[in-house]
């Protein structure tokens, strides 16, 4: 390389040699880059395959199951004479609606109010609460089931009941609502608050009539996401609601739920019951997707507004 700098070589030759070296490296670097880029894109395709496969399979096998009887009849057990006797899942639909309704009544007020508290206070009690909410949000859902079993079924003596299951679901929902509310309330511009305070409104008046309406769509989004998660959760209600093949809905009754019906029927020996599972899964999937799209729509509208 030293003779590169000899005067014997012209500038042009020098440039040509450098370009050659640079191009040599560049070609192999580009090839390697392209290979890895295509690997990355392949990974993306692989990542999306499950959703396609899952939705395809569930729609394909679920749609034929969805008849009027599926929604209105009580479940029946197939027998050798009548292997296709499955009935419907009306008990699980009623049970799921009841569970989520009670869970929402318990969790939404607590979650929203605590979320506002953490957003508007910058002290030690607020950060303790934030830590607790994050810890609870990360706890496995089966532990909520153990908790509700120990506290509501045993300690409070309710036994297997809708109230125990909805308590477990409420414990699951509250952290989600707290985190969503806190973010929504924090995103309200400080100038709006100051304008209210400057007019002489008291802090609680500002919070109720200015901050809350502005943050409402964010809070509603959080609640929708929490509800859609609660509807599909099987682990917290697995050993708290008891299961029922009747149209039970009262808080102290044992009830059934859609995810539990899936859990039990999926392991059944009867092909007709295993077929029903896809129908229930389709109902859950449609509900969750609708909730998810509603939440995205609300978030999008809020972003356009501000």
């Amino acid at each position: 390389m030293t003779d590169l700098f000899n005067t014997a070589q012209t500038n042009d030759a020098l440039r040509a040699e450098i370009q050659e070296i640079a191009h040599k490296g560049r070609a192999s670097r580009l090839v390697r880059s392209r290979i890895i880029i295509s690997l990355c894109v392949t990974a993306l395709v692989i990542a999306i395959i499950p959703l396609a496969a899952l939705s395809w399979e569930i729609i394909l096998k679920g749609v034929p199951v969805l008849k009027v009887a599926f929604f209105t009849q009580l479940p029946q057990v197939p027998n050798l004479a009548n292997p296709n006797l499955t009935g419907g899942v009306s008990n699980a639909i009623v049970g799921s609606i009841a569970l989520v309704a009670y869970a929402s009544i318990m969790s939404v007020p607590v979650g929203v109010l605590t979320g506002i508290y953490t957003a508007e206070n910058e002290n030690r009690s607020a950060s303790l609460l934030r830590l607790m909410a994050q810890t609870m949000a990360g706890a496995p859902s089966i532990l909520m089931g153990l908790f509700a079993f120990a506290l509501v079924c045993q300690q409070f003596g309710f036994g297997y009941s809708a109230i125990a299951g909805s308590f477990a679901l409420a414990v699951l929902m509250v952290p989600v609502i707290i985190v969503a509310t806190e973010i929504a309330v924090r995103n309200v511009p400080q100038t709006l608050r100051e304008a209210g305070l400057a007019l002489g409104a008291r802090p609680h008046k500002v919070s109720l009539s200015i901050v809350l309406p502005t943050a409402l769509s964010g809070i509603v989004t959080g609640c929708i996401l929490a509800i859609s998660r609660a509807v599909g959760e099987a682990a917290p209600v697995l050993f708290t609601i008891g299961g029922a093949s009747l149209l039970n809905w009262k808080p102290t009754d044992p009830v059934s739920a859609l995810p539990i019906s899936i859990f039990i029927d999926a392991k059944s020996q009867w092909p007709s019951l295993r077929a029903i599972v896809f129908g229930i899964a389709l109902v859950l999937l449609v509900f969750v997707f609708i909730a998810s799209f509603t939440a995205r729509f609300l978030v999008g509208r809020q972003q356009r507004k501000s």
Partner: protein, 320 residues
């Protein structure tokens, strides 16, 4: 002066409805917020207290056996469940990180902007699918397919340490891990995507201007900058995998022995609690609660580590 103060008191009456303002008065509203705060902290404290207190007899009688014992019948050995939890969640994490890192990188850098929103939406929808649906899909769709094609294929590669495909029945540690990997993939991808997009544009442009190829920009600039946040995403996904219950309970077969061959059924802590609870006596339930405490420690520990990583990444990017 007087007209001014009349004006002000009129305005004030309009805003606060006539009552006299006082800065020291605590309104009903602040009590309400305080009450909600108290309720939530009480419930959280009860959560830990009730699970731990129910399991105390087990920790007093046989603290060693619940961790290392290999048989559930009699002395309540929890080792198969703890081992199974680690096996399934770590294998799932390896699969999900391999695919998810590539997917997140291509969402941010390689695909056209039009497709970006659609793929991001699909990933979020995947995250919203209830775990029981992944379980059903794994048991009724994936399991027969794997039994027919995937186990024999791995067998033909000579991977005998996994077990023999002829003796596989469908539900297995491998199947549960694949289902778990599919479940935790969206979480890992969405957080990794955020972390990668937060890498400052200046750094990327600086290395492009030095003549780096697109892959060199990513491997030499983006990934080192985002490394800690990606670790955080991985640990968050791991936390989710360790606590997953019903999807694993459906696909792993729930057999309570130590299982090293991934073609055969095993069990995890969460799925064992779910399937054993129904037929349990009150003494059994104490042991299941003790397993619950172990699960709580593992999964809260992992999610604590993940939160620490993500907070450190934020702090680091704030400095750049």
């Amino acid at each position: 002066m007087t007209s001014n103060s009349v004006q002000i008191s009129k305005l004030r009456r309009f805003v606060v409805g006539g009552s006299k303002p006082s800065t020291t008065e605590r309104s009903w509203y602040s009590y309400l917020l305080g009450a909600a705060w108290g309720v939530f902290l009480l419930v959280s404290a009860l959560f830990f207290w009730s699970i731990i207190s129910k399991s105390l007899p087990v920790w007093e009688k046989q603290p060693g056996t619940i961790l290392t014992g290999t048989s559930w019948g009699g002395p309540y050995g929890g080792f198969p469940m703890i081992l199974g939890t680690l096996q399934t969640s770590i294998l799932a994490l390896v699969l999900a990180v391999g695919v998810g890192l590539g997917a997140a990188i291509s969402i941010v850098f390689f695909i056209p902007a039009r497709l970006r929103l659609i793929t991001a939406t699909i990933v979020e929808l995947l995250a919203a699918v209830p775990s029981i649906i992944y379980g059903v899909w794994g048991l009724l769709v994936l399991s027969p397919w794997m039994l027919a094609h995937f186990y024999p294929f791995l067998d033909s590669l000579g991977l005998t340490f996994l077990g023999s495909s002829a003796m596989a029945t469908g539900p297995s540690i491998l199947l549960a891990s694949i289902v778990l990997a599919v479940m935790i993939l969206p979480i890992f991808v969405s957080i990794t995507r955020e972390v990668i997009s937060a890498v400052p544009q200046d750094l990327i442009e600086a290395s492009l201007s030095l003549g780096a190829t697109r892959w060199q920009v990513i491997s030499k600039t983006v990934l080192p900058t985002a490394r800690i946040g990606i670790m955080g995403a991985a640990f968050l996904a791991l936390a989710r995998a360790t606590g997953e219950t019903v999807a694993v309970a459906l696909t792993i077969g729930t057999v309570s022995n130590v299982q090293w061959h991934f073609f055969y059924p095993g069990t995890t802590i969460a799925s064992w609690i779910a399937s054993a609870f129904g037929e349990s006596s009150s003494v059994d339930i104490q042991a299941l609660m003790a397993l619950g405490v172990i699960l709580m420690v593992i999964s809260l520990g992992v999610s604590l580590i993940s939160r620490w990583f993500i907070a450190r990444q934020r702090k680091m990017l704030a400095k750049v």
